[in-house]
Every structure is written in structure tokens, then in C-alpha cells.
């Protein structure tokens, strides 16, 4: 099986889906000749031409809105937002239109569109190239939000998103793009949207997280194993709507829960995860539900001293798990 980086898995999924279904096309800023500012669409313009890899004017609401129209016709647009931070001008189209189309038309119209965007920090991106924006959308029935943590998951989930008949926000961790590599099958496969995935079985402490933090948790878990602390890790994969069953099961498994997000703490999606647990299996818990998150400041500052302070890292995770284990 070939080893791929996280971003290569993105490109592979796009390429295969475009090959498979000629209704699939890409639109966004600099996705054409340049192949995207991170290179996610590299080679696709050469392979599929101007029409199917469309450089748009610099206007996110149009990218989303034109995509919605094309999707209503029956095409399968895959729109790229250059950075998740720049999805903001498209919020009205995404929330008022894409999310509500099927519902408001009583199942007459639908929007089979995927919107990809790189999110997350740790890349000297400062306030506007580092944000986690999922919480903004994680209260909008009609939307699905997928946030994969490994190259394998990227390929299977991006294909599933493109084939989904409803709008999917697909957020890729930009620091994972080149940092993470793993084996990815060359064959066609899809992974189920809406299902969380156990990334590590364990019996002492349950960690529930998503995105790059899954890796921080895995790294921490490995270290803690030496101390005899056995960590269970659930990767949410889809952060909206949440996989309640898997969350409850994972919480019950150890009775001690650590929730991790790179987002600002207050109002992040792990608050909802905590609420699900507190509502459904409170009496299975042996300790308070702990949350490890970014501080409640607008976003990651540029200066390295401050950025480091903001980011989640394996050490922070390790400490938090140990504390819970010792509780």
C-alpha cells in the first residue's frame, strides 16, 4: 500500500472522484494553474482542464452560492475556501441556503456540494490563518461537518462527502498536510459520514477529540502506556451531527473523560460532547468531564512565544490524561 501524506490523500480523493463521475468539478481561488495555495488540487487542472478546475474571482459568497446553484442542477461541486478563516463571507450562503435547501423545499431540491477548507494552527498563520471554525456551523441542521485526522480517513471521507447528496463541510488540518503520512489503499473506498472511530482501545481514561489533536493524544497515550496508564481514544471524525452512540459508549468504557479541541474553549463543539455525556451517562462517570482547549482569545497570535502558548501539544495532553488517571 502506498504511503501518502494527508494532503496527497486529499488530491487522490479529488482526482479519483473526478475520474469516476464527470459531474464532479472543483471551484475556488487559485485552484487552477497554481493547484491551490497548499497544493491540494495540484495536477488536476492539467488533467481535467479549465472547466472542471475553475479559478473563481476572489469572492467566497459567490463560490458557495454559484456552487449551490450548480449542485441544484445536479452537478457535484467541490468548492475550496482558501483558508477556513475566509469562509466567513460565505456564511449566509452556507447556512441560509445550502443547509436549508432540502428542508425548505420539502425534499424537492437538494445541494450535493462539498466545501473544503484548511483549518487549524501551529503554522505561523496568526489570527486569520489558524482558526478552527467548525463551532460556527455545528448548530445548523442540514449541514454535515467532517474533520478527518489521518490520510486514510481523508481519502475515504472526502470521497463519501463528494458522493453525499447533502452539503458537507470538509475541514482539513493544514498542519497535518505534510506532517502526517500513512498507508492509503490505492483502491476506491468510502468511510461513513456521521460515525466516530476508535483510534486506540484503552481502559483507564477516554479521550474524545478530532483533527490534529488525535495525534497528540496518540503520542501522549504511547508515553503514558509506559506508566501503566491505558488510554482509550475516540476520533469524532464527523463533528456535526455528532455520533452520540459512540460518544456514550466511549465515555462509559472508562468513566473518565478528557475532551480535546484546538478551538477556543467556550462554545467549541466539545461542549456539546460534554452535554451529551452529562445527559446520557452521568452516573457512569468517576471524574468530572475535563476539557483541554485553546484559550478564549480571538485566535492564535503570530509571535512564536504566544502561538506556542495557544496550541495544544502532546505534553499538555499527557498531563491532562495523567491527572484524570490519578483522579
Amino acid at each position: 500500500m502506498p504511503v501518502m501524506s494527508y494532503i496527497q490523500a486529499v488530491t487522490a480523493a479529488l482526482q479519483e472522484e473526478m475520474q469516476r463521475d464527470e459531474k464532479v468539478f472543483i471551484l475556488g481561488e487559485d485552484v487552477g494553474k497554481k493547484g491551490g495555495v497548499f497544493g491540494a488540487t495540484k495536477g488536476l487542472h492539467d488533467a481535467f482542464g479549465d472547466d472542471r478546475v475553475l479559478d473563481t474571482p476572489l469572492a467566497e459568497s459567490a463560490i458557495a452560492g454559484v456552487g449551490i446553484g450548480a449542485a441544484m442542477y445536479g452537478l457535484r461541486p467541490v468548492a475550496e475556501m482558501q483558508f477556513a478563516d475566509f469562509i466567513m463571507p460565505a456564511v449566509n450562503q452556507i447556512i441560509s441556503e445550502a443547509a436549508k435547501m432540502r428542508y425548505r423545499s420539502n425534499n424537492d431540491w437538494n445541494v450535493p456540494m462539498t466545501i473544503r477548507a484548511p483549518f487549524g494552527g501551529g503554522v505561523h498563520g496568526a489570527l486569520y490563518h489558524s482558526q478552527s471554525v467548525e463551532a460556527l456551523f455545528a448548530n445548523q441542521p442540514g449541514l454535515k461537518i467532517v474533520m478527518p485526522s489521518t490520510p486514510y480517513d481523508v481519502k475515504g471521507l472526502l470521497k463519501a462527502s463528494i458522493r453525499d447528496n447533502d452539503p458537507v463541510l470538509f475541514f482539513e488540518h493544514k498542519r497535518a498536510y505534510r506532517l502526517l503520512k500513512s498507508e492509503v489503499p490505492e483502491e476506491d473506498y468510502v468511510l461513513p459520514i456521521g460515525k466516530a472511530d476508535v483510534k486506540r482501545e484503552g481502559s483507564d481514561v477516554t479521550v474524545i477529540t478530532y483533527g490534529l489533536s488525535v495525534h497528540f493524544a496518540l503520542q501522549a497515550a504511547e508515553k503514558l502506556e509506559e506508566e501503566g496508564i491505558d488510554t482509550h481514544i475516540l476520533d469524532l471524525r464527523t463533528v456535526y451531527p455528532l455520533d452520540q452512540e459512540a460518544i456514550i459508549e466511549a465515555a462509559q468504557k472508562t468513566g473518565k473523560v478528557l475532551l480535546i479541541t484546538e478551538d477556543n474553549k467556550e462554545g467549541s463543539i466539545i461542549g456539546e460532547v460534554a452535554a451529551i455525556i452529562a445527559e446520557n451517562c452521568l452516573f457512569d462517570l468517576d471524574s468530572p468531564i475535563q476539557r483541554l482547549a485553546g484559550p478564549d482569545i480571538p485566535a492564535m497570535p503570530f509571535s512564536p512565544t504566544m502561538e506556542k502558548n495557544f496550541m495544544i501539544n502532546p505534553d499538555k495532553v499527557e498531563r491532562a490524561i495523567r491527572e484524570l488517571a490519578e483522579f
Binding site: F25, D51, R52, L54, T56, P57, A59, S61, A62, A64, G65, V66, G67, I68, G69, A70, A71, M72, Y73, G74, L75, P77, P89, N92, Q93, S96, E97, K100, M101, R102, Y103, R104, S105, N106, N107, D108, W109, N110, P141, G142, K144, D164, N165, D166
Partner: protein
């Protein structure tokens, strides 16, 4: 010379009368909705009155069996012309289960009907414009011969989506026709407080497309411009912006009291140019509609509206639990 205007535009006598019929039908449905609202039977109305000529004139210039339309809430005339029936519209007004627009989920006049290629519309204004551009993009990509037709109010032309959508259409030379129905008010705000330029159609030059302002009270003038625009669209010459100028005869909606911000004299003055009166006069002058025929048309329409109302009033509401359906594909 007035006599031959419709023929020189390529419209048959029957078609010209049919335009009139649609205008009257739109008006009558609309008037009935106000009565029903004032009688407490339906909670909300938002009107097409004053804009029927633009709407029907434009629609008749399109291929109503192939083109797509993304109407806004006043476009009762457009959706009628595209095939939605009086009964269907009344079902929507009463928020009944059978309403094809939304199954009673949306407010009335939030149109949408896939079988007639009427895109589903929301309340936030102007969002439909990029959708129509997306439809036009699909036409280009799939090499299909249809046009995409989108309408909005002049106030709504100040939203960012207007700019972003039309520029996208202009850059990619897409077959989309945008008609701004300038009725001089956006709720209470008059044109000069909405738009800095003189005409909305001046905005076309920003987007590398032709722009034209037309008398929205003249269905044939609107027909002519939309016809030209459609030809350009189908010939790969790209988009067109049309501004149809008319006047809003009613308050903004049944929730509005327009005496708060405009003089009734102004409204009365505008009603003197009611297109339904002037177009009837034209048809008679042209000798293709008699008083009797007019009467017949009107009584047929009354019957249609009565029937639609009765049916819709008696129809069933959606089941409460049906509210949980169709959030996602099922």
C-alpha cells in the same frame, strides 16, 4: 402603429392575449390573498401588484419548458407563467401539506418547484442570484441550450451577492439574465436612499455585460429586452442585466403600513399607469380583444381563484411530526 407592436416582436395575437390573461390571474390571486389575510384566514401576504407586466412580459420571452428561473417573493407572475397553478399558490398561502413550494414549511411567496425548474427561494434577499449563476454555469459546462433567469428588487441589488454573482457570470460569460424589478421602494426606503447611481442598469458595466432600463409597466417592452438577452445567452454571448421600472401598489406586505413613509397621493398617481388597464387598452386598440372576451377572461379567472381558494382552505395541514422529515436525504 401601436397595433402591431406584439406582432413585430414575434408574438401571436393569442400569445399577446395570454400575457394579459396571466397578468390578470396574478393580480386576482394576489387580491384574494389580501382579502383572506384581512379576514384572518392566512397570516401573511406579500404582493406582485404593479409588477405583473414585467413578470409576465419577461417570462413569455423565455423558453418556459427549458429555462430555469430563480424568482423572488413578488414573482407570482413569473411562477404562474412557468407553470405553477392558482391552486398550488393558494395551498402555499394556507400553508397546507400539498403546497408544492415547501409543504407549508415556508412563508407564502417563497417559491420553488423543481418540475417547473423554479429554484427554491429563501427569505434573505439576493441569495438566489449566485444560484442562478450556478445554473448558468451548469448549462455552459453541460453544453445545454437553456438560460437562467433571476429576479430581485432594486434594494436587494445592494447586497454583496449581487456584485459577486454578476461578476462571476461576466467573467465566465454565462447564460444568465438578471432582471431587477425596480418598484421604487425597499420596504420604507425610497430609491434615492438605496442606490447612489441613477439606474440599477448602470451597474452592468461593472460586470462587462449590457445593461438596460425598461418600462416595467409595458409587458411588450420587457418582452423585447428579455428576448434579446435570451438570444445573447443562448449564443454564448454571456449575461445581461435588465432593470424593469414600475411601482409597488400595495404596502410592502400585510405586516406593513405604508402610510408611515409615503403619501397616498403618490400611490394613486402610480396606479394611473396600472399595466393591466393600459395593456387591455392596447389589446383592444389592436383589435385582438373585445370587451366581451375580456369579461370572459375575467370570469374564468374568478372561477379559477374561487376554486383554488376553496380547495386550499379545505386541504389538510402537514402532520406535526412531518416537521422532522427531510433535514437530510432519507
Amino acid at each position: 402603429m401601436a397595433q402591431n407592436r406584439h406582432q413585430s416582436l414575434g408574438l401571436t395575437d393569442e400569445q399577446a392575449v395570454d400575457i394579459y390573461r396571466h397578468m390578470v390571474l396574478a393580480r386576482k390571486i394576489d387580491e384574494r390573498m389580501w382579502l383572506l389575510n384581512r379576514a384572518g384566514k392566512i397570516p401573511f401576504v406579500i404582493s406582485c401588484q404593479g409588477q405583473e407586466a414585467s413578470q409576465i412580459g419577461a417570462s413569455f420571452a423565455l423558453d418556459r419548458n427549458a429555462d430555469y428561473t430563480a424568482p423572488y417573493y413578488r414573482d407570482l407572475g413569473v411562477v404562474l407563467a412557468f407553470g405553477m397553478t392558482a391552486k398550488e399558490l393558494m395551498l402555499s398561502a394556507f400553508a397546507k401539506a400539498e403546497d408544492p413550494n415547501s409543504g407549508g414549511r415556508q412563508m407564502p411567496s417563497h417559491f420553488g418547484q423543481k418540475k417547473n425548474r423554479i429554484l427554491s427561494q429563501s427569505s434573505p434577499v439576493t441569495t438566489q442570484l449566485p444560484h442562478a449563476v450556478g445554473i448558468a454555469l451548469a448549462a455552459k459546462m453541460e453544453k445545454k441550450d437553456f438560460a437562467s433567469f433571476v429576479t430581485l428588487g432594486e434594494g436587494s441589488s445592494n447586497q454583496g451577492d449581487f456584485h459577486e454573482g454578476l461578476n462571476f457570470a461576466g467573467v465566465h460569460k454565462l447564460p444568465v439574465i438578471t432582471m431587477v424589478e425596480n418598484n421604487k421602494y425597499a420596504i420604507s426606503v425610497p430609491l434615492d436612499k438605496q442606490i447612489a447611481g441613477k439606474n440599477v442598469s448602470d451597474r452592468a458595466s461593472s460586470y462587462g455585460m449590457p445593461g438596460v432600463t425598461v418600462d416595467g409597466n409595458d409587458p411588450l417592452a420587457v418582452y423585447e429586452e428579455v428576448k434579446k438577452a435570451r438570444e445573447r445567452a443562448i449564443n454564448g454571448e454571456g449575461p445581461t442585466l435588465i432593470e424593469a421600472v414600475s411601482y409597488r401598489f400595495t404596502a410592502h406586505s400585510s405586516d406593513d403600513d405604508d402610510r408611515q413613509y409615503r403619501e397616498s397621493a403618490e400611490v394613486e398617481e402610480a396606479k394611473k399607469n396600472d399595466a393591466i388597464i393600459s395593456f387591455a387598452a392596447y389589446l383592444k386598440e389592436a383589435g385582438i380583444m373585445t370587451d366581451d372576451q375580456e369579461q370572459t377572461i375575467r370570469s374564468e379567472i374568478d372561477a379559477t381563484v374561487n376554486e383554488a381558494t376553496d380547495y386550499a382552505e379545505k386541504a389538510a395541514y402537514p402532520e406535526p411530526e412531518s416537521a422532522y422529515q427531510y433535514v437530510y436525504e432519507e
